[in-house]
Amino acid sequence: MSTATVTKSTLLKDLRMEWRSKDAINSMLFFSLLVVVIFSFAFNPTAEESRLIAGGLIWVAFLFAAVVALNQTWARELHNQVLDAYRVSPAPANALLLAKALGNFLFVVVLEVLMAPLFVVFYQLRSVGPVWQLIVIALLGTWALVVNGTFFAALSIRTRSREIMLPLILFPISIPALLAMVDATTSILTGDSSPDFWMKMLLVYDVVFTAVCLLLFESVLNAE
């Protein structure tokens, strides 16, 4: 049985369910909106200051918003114990992780597309460096957050306080990626330095952690 086929059918199923409930996207949107508005009131930066702090601000907002979605990733599989139906089937375990990670990736990318104009308006952002590099960093950075987040959300589904457990595990392990995302974004916004090193680091981080998550996921799925 093909991993790609099962990944696709699971992804489409998750997207259909999210389209009907809009649980994840609504929670993320409201959370990010609050962060943008509250921070703009709290700092009220000039255009120059915005370029220096926006990298950190944007990615912290998206990281926290992503956690909201990640916590709901496995909730649907636990309700009615549907995860057992997947576990007894011959479908490859990795297809489930990939589908969930791709679903979360799409949700967070949609959030970024919707929130980016607000960041520009509230923080008077004008990029000195090329904007296409920001898009590459957004894609690489988002994958870094969601692949680990989806994996660790699966790891914590059987714990009693999983909403607390996920950020406790995810945030420390995301520090290298977050550092690369923030520094690369700031480099492009200010035009002071090249973001190449940070982009390469992000790419390596994505490859390594995707491989590790895929290798370990079957054990996590079948853990008691």
Binding site: M1, T5, V6, S9, T10, K13, R16, M17, R20, S21, R76, H79, N80, Q81, V82, D84, A85, Y86, R87, V88, S89, P90, A91, N222, E224
Partner: protein, 235 residues
């Protein structure tokens, strides 16, 4: 007729010294037994006897602490997963999808891409495949029927059912029991964990009595012909 498979055929399920601990509690205490193909086994016993744990170990959902399970001549349940149908105590269905969407998704997991199979499976358990109602709005009886369809659609050789009749009205329960009788007559091996053993008396081949994590006794019965079940006055 009781099954189309000869009872001298090699056993379909072999349990060897099966032990399962949850913390310090022993849910299964050294079960060794074997089960012939083409029969319908009804596992009965008090709460905490280990019935559901045994079924989950056979299904590969729980690793035994000691011992081994051999299913359909394979050492790993994973190897024969496509030949097993499992219905859990919970419905194992997505509330946000309708019945047919649920079955189509699970069919994909078993590499079954002919959607008429899903339609037929729903009709067989008395559900309308064209019903565009989400499972979250189904009655408990409809959920159980759909859950049974989910366990049977891929024509498995070994069917494991955990409390299939819970919260199901008598009429639906008899219908489900009749379906199981038909499956057995086609040579399938079926294990049913239930507290409502009376419902299975007319179709069961053997009652497996469990207590304190062990199989206490096995009682072979001769099931009545299916026509007697469906023509019964208690419907």
């Amino acid at each position: 007729m009781t099954g189309s498979t000869d009872s001298s055929s090699p056993p379909v399920v072999v349990l060897e010294n099966l032990v399962k601990f949850f913390g310090r509690f022993a849910a299964l205490r050294g079960i060794s037994d074997s089960f012939a193909p083409g029969k319908l086994y009804v596992i009965v016993g008090d709460n905490g006897a280990g019935k559901s744990t045994l079924l989950r170990v056979i299904a590969g959902l729980i690793e035994p602490s000691q011992g081994s399970v051999t299913l359909l001549d394979a050492k790993s349940t994973r190897e024969v997963a496509h030949r097993i149908g499992y219905m859990g105590h919970a419905p194992l269905l997505y509330d946000e999808l309708d019945g047919l969407e649920n079955l189509r998704y699970f069919a994909g997991l078993y590499d079954v891409h002919d959607h008429t199979i899903c339609h037929d499976a729903m009709r067989r358990v008395g559900l309308d495949p064209d019903l565009e109602r989400r499972v979250g709005q189904y009655s408990q009886g409809m959920r159980q029927r759909l859950s049974l369809a989910r366990a049977l659609f891929h024509d498995p050789e070994l069917i494991l059912l955990d409390e299939p009749f819970s919260n199901v009205d008598v009429h639906s329960a008899h219908d489900m029991a009749a379906i199981l009788g038909t499956e057995r007559d086609q040579g399938k091996t079926i294990f049913v964990v239930t507290h409502q053993s009376a419902l299975m008396e007319q179709v069961a081949d053997e009652f497996v009595h469990m207590a304190d994590g062990k199989i206490e006794s096995r009682e072979a019965v001769r099931p009545l012909p299916l026509s007697a079940t469906t023509a019964g006055g208690d419907r």
